[in-house]
Subunit: 353 residues, 2 copies
Amino acid sequence: MSQKVRIALDAMGGDFGASVVVPGAAISLTRHPDTEFLLFGDSALINKELQAHPALKAASQVIHTDVAVSMHDKPSQALRRGRKTSSMWLAIEAVKNGKADVTVSAGNTGALMAMSRFCLRTLPGVDRPAIAAVWPTLRGDSVVLDLGASIGGDAEHLRTLAVMGSAMARVLFDLERPTVGLLNIGVEEIKGGEEIRAAADLLRAMDSPQFDFIGFVEGDGIGKGAADVIVSEGFAGNIALKAAEGTARQISEYLRSAMSRTWRSKLGYLFARQAFRSLKDKMDPNKSNGGVFLGLNGVVVKSHGGTSADGFAYAVDVGYDMVRYDLLTKINQTLHRDPAALGVLPTAQEAVS
Amino acid sequence: MSQKVRIALDAMGGDFGASVVVPGAAISLTRHPDTEFLLFGDSALINKELQAHPALKAASQVIHTDVAVSMHDKPSQALRRGRKTSSMWLAIEAVKNGKADVTVSAGNTGALMAMSRFCLRTLPGVDRPAIAAVWPTLRGDSVVLDLGASIGGDAEHLRTLAVMGSAMARVLFDLERPTVGLLNIGVEEIKGGEEIRAAADLLRAMDSPQFDFIGFVEGDGIGKGAADVIVSEGFAGNIALKAAEGTARQISEYLRSAMSRTWRSKLGYLFARQAFRSLKDKMDPNKSNGGVFLGLNGVVVKSHGGTSADGFAYAVDVGYDMVRYDLLTKINQTLHRDPAALGVLPTAQEAVS
């Protein structure tokens, strides 16, 4: 690809809006100078921020709108109030119209998903989109999905997640045939709800040349890197992600407090400063910022709402990589090379009980 | 209580059987000399282990049986093969018959739960038992349940879990009115499945004098200590627990490798040895070994199957505490002081979809 990567940003999204989005984009631009930005939102606020970032200003076009989706809007409210007018909607629409290659927003997840789905529509055969993210493990990185786009789902839904997640892993990790595991509360065949066991049967029966289904993975298998792709419906996937994040924060806190307790530990800290820095770097939640909406006719990246400029820059990087390595096309190809995996009829949306 | 605490042990349970159970019991006995043990299993194996632990031998009675439930038996198999004969069953039955105050087993969870339920029966108004454990948080300890005893459940089931978990927290943490949170994927009212929102309505409507319902807690709220009691159906609860354990192991691994990389970090480690020891202690998974089966007419403690003697000793300690502080009676009292919380009719067991 010789053209520039065109990234549409919802400059009003997130807890801090333009004051994080603009400096975040500026950081990402230094890493990927072949980027152009479309900045949607309050042009006065955006232009004020752009003063401090001349290189970004030169690479950006600002499209003014007064309307912004609030972090507290319900999806239905956001659609009612913000459709066709809000910074979030316009950024997504830029992808639909081909004016941008990818959208990045730190806005509220429910609204962003609802608008993305409404504007971009799901891929043929995909009933509900998913949120996928890269999860650092002891063996490298894994793709984990769904992190909360929807709750529950039948075996077909889980199979579609496996197909989409494995396509993402093939591209991102340059793997021929990534391993795929189903998140469950035991590795035995008898464990888990019916839909998970049925999904395991489906995935085994597929015997796909594009991924290697290895069976069930328990919650502690994710961090071990038990599979390149971990598949779960969105409720348990979200709980796993947040529980892991909470534990990481808890241990950082313990460590910080232990290292500052005595003069010996403080001295130890000084000597091992470099080691602590590398640990901090490995545990930096900013670095895994950037949830990817899979299953839509376009790429949308969701940043944490409360992230810093550094964190937002990582989400922009994720968007950049998705375009530069042509992820969406490759996912689509994988999906369509294996149409049987998707089911021709929309699957019944199961009630979550 | 002036009598001794009588603990029934399934000496064949776990990955290592008597070779972990016996030394584990010996460790616990040094901490609680007012304990008597009933050891169920292969008497030749048990007596061989007891040679090395004369104090334990003096405090123990060995009851021989040839039958042991395997770690791989399905619950139905275990019941068919091991009812009335296996070490696991006999240990549970000792509680039913009043010969022991509590059972501790490292045997397979499904079999232990099935036998406990079959032998001890659930408390009136409790449809399904739960597994609860103490989860260390930044604010102290919390009780988290259900960690995988059953999958799914309606609002009534979640309410029963809240009542039982809060009773456990009142006793263990000596709290007048512990806070209770429902595990969910967002703190907003609109998030989560229907049954969780309905449970929130029920808990709010109860306005119980025995606990303070604070609403939804996300996965990262557990480690923060957002509530004294965290309530979830068993699938998500298990995933949360295992994801947290996996993350803790992952960070230990990072830390170990970072601290041994350079001479500076090694020197730093030496100076801060004490701090690392206290951190290791805080993160020691042995210390949170011991899942408590709640909702039965008797106390059963489940140890991790792969635990060490130290870890098993902690599970025995949990069993000891439950008896010494009369937990079961207090839970029962709390349950029956608030019969409305339990529903008089058995609730329909919802299919998990």
